[in-house]
Symmetry: C2
Subunit: 218 residues, 2 copies
């Protein structure tokens, strides 16, 4: 597998493919054509073929794909065949909503620990998830073997919290704060900025782009 050469746009589409294959597999379907796949995930066939080509031979031309094989391949590729514990830091409005959020496509991603500074919730179990004080972060992240943290703290606290997370051994951060945080090499930061998303949508709306979809971008 040529992992290191896969473009980010391709990587972002893998969960889409995987989700649809799971739906097909649950429905008892054995084969799927690239046309069906294309229609369901709304990515054009040429892009799908190019995406799949990074992983070698995944199917035979004109024959379609074996649903179960392909599903298992993506499960492995996305590490969905093993449990991933995730931490969430900052149980405010957005953090609380994310604790309740169903990670719908995945049986294997689980928020197993939350952290906050608020004495009203620290030490309690919120939506099934224990909320620890910040001082327990390093210990819990080690015990629970957590690599990934969701960051939903106030922007002005974000860099301090990131430093603590990195110190505790976190390797990937899903950053919901508007702050542009920095981390040492080897720690991945993925920004989800909701205002940016809205502003970009407004921009495209006013600039009359002919078509626009997140997942067909390259």
């Amino acid at each position: 597998m040529k992992d290191n050469q896969i473009p980010k746009a391709t990587a972002k589409r893998l969960p889409l493919y995987y989700r649809y294959l799971r739906i097909l597999n649950n429905a008892g379907k054995k084969k799927v054509s690239s046309t069906e796949l294309s229609e369901a995930v709304q990515v054009d066939s040429a892009t799908i073929r190019r995406d799949f080509s990074y992983f070698g031979e995944l199917g035979k031309r004109g024959y379609g794909y074996d649903v179960q094989d392909l599903m298992q391949f993506f499960a492995k590729t996305l590490n969905d065949d093993q449990m991933t514990n995730v931490a969430l830091v900052g149980v405010g409005n957005l953090g609380s909503a994310l604790l309740k959020y169903k990670f719908h496509q995945s049986n294997s991603i689980r928020v197993s620990a939350a952290f906050d500074v608020n004495d009203d919730i620290v030490g309690r179990i919120v939506d099934g998830i224990p909320v620890y004080p910040m001082s327990d972060m390093k210990e819990q992240i080690e015990i629970q073997q957590i690599d990934i943290a969701i960051l939903t703290v106030p922007a002005q606290k974000s860099q301090d919290v990131v430093n603590t997370l990195v110190d505790a051994g976190i390797k990937g951060i899903l950053n919901f704060t508007p702050a542009r945080i920095t981390a040492p090499e080897g720690v991945l930061i993925q920004n989800v900025d909701l205002t940016n998303e809205l502003q970009t949508l407004i921009y495209f709306l006013h600039s009359n782009e002919p078509s626009f979809d997140e997942t067909t971008e390259d």
Copy 2:
């Protein structure tokens, strides 16, 4: 302005540039070098120069950029010089959190109407925002001149709601549901899939990508 030729990756960085310029302007700064800008927004200088080049001459080489001019330019480009009313459909966990969410970079984006089916909240004002029944959607979207909707309904309801929104005149949808929704040509759909974001992060973590940042993607 060559709006129609701007790559999506560039468009997604414009809100970042704009936000930083507003911070500088508020701090009374008059000039900013491309190096300073690059460090603050964590986008390399070459990418910034290429992004800016789509908009013609925005500054003089070696002289830096005029903060206020550039800020005003981006305000106009992003339509942040006029109020944009936005609707939110589905006041569940995530929807409620988004009603409380501060659209931090923008004074001009405002959720002005929410819609839900739940009788407990319909007709009430939640976090300052009126929650209307679905049956009032068309009327309110017209009265309030709303072009954009945030979709936070259950996945299985999403396509029906999208059809209603399109019928009511909505031109852009920020889709937080995992469903792959479709809309007629001329209606833009931007997907924000939180499970995808996590899975992509997990994927990159395990594939040892050397570096990874949302905003430097092309």
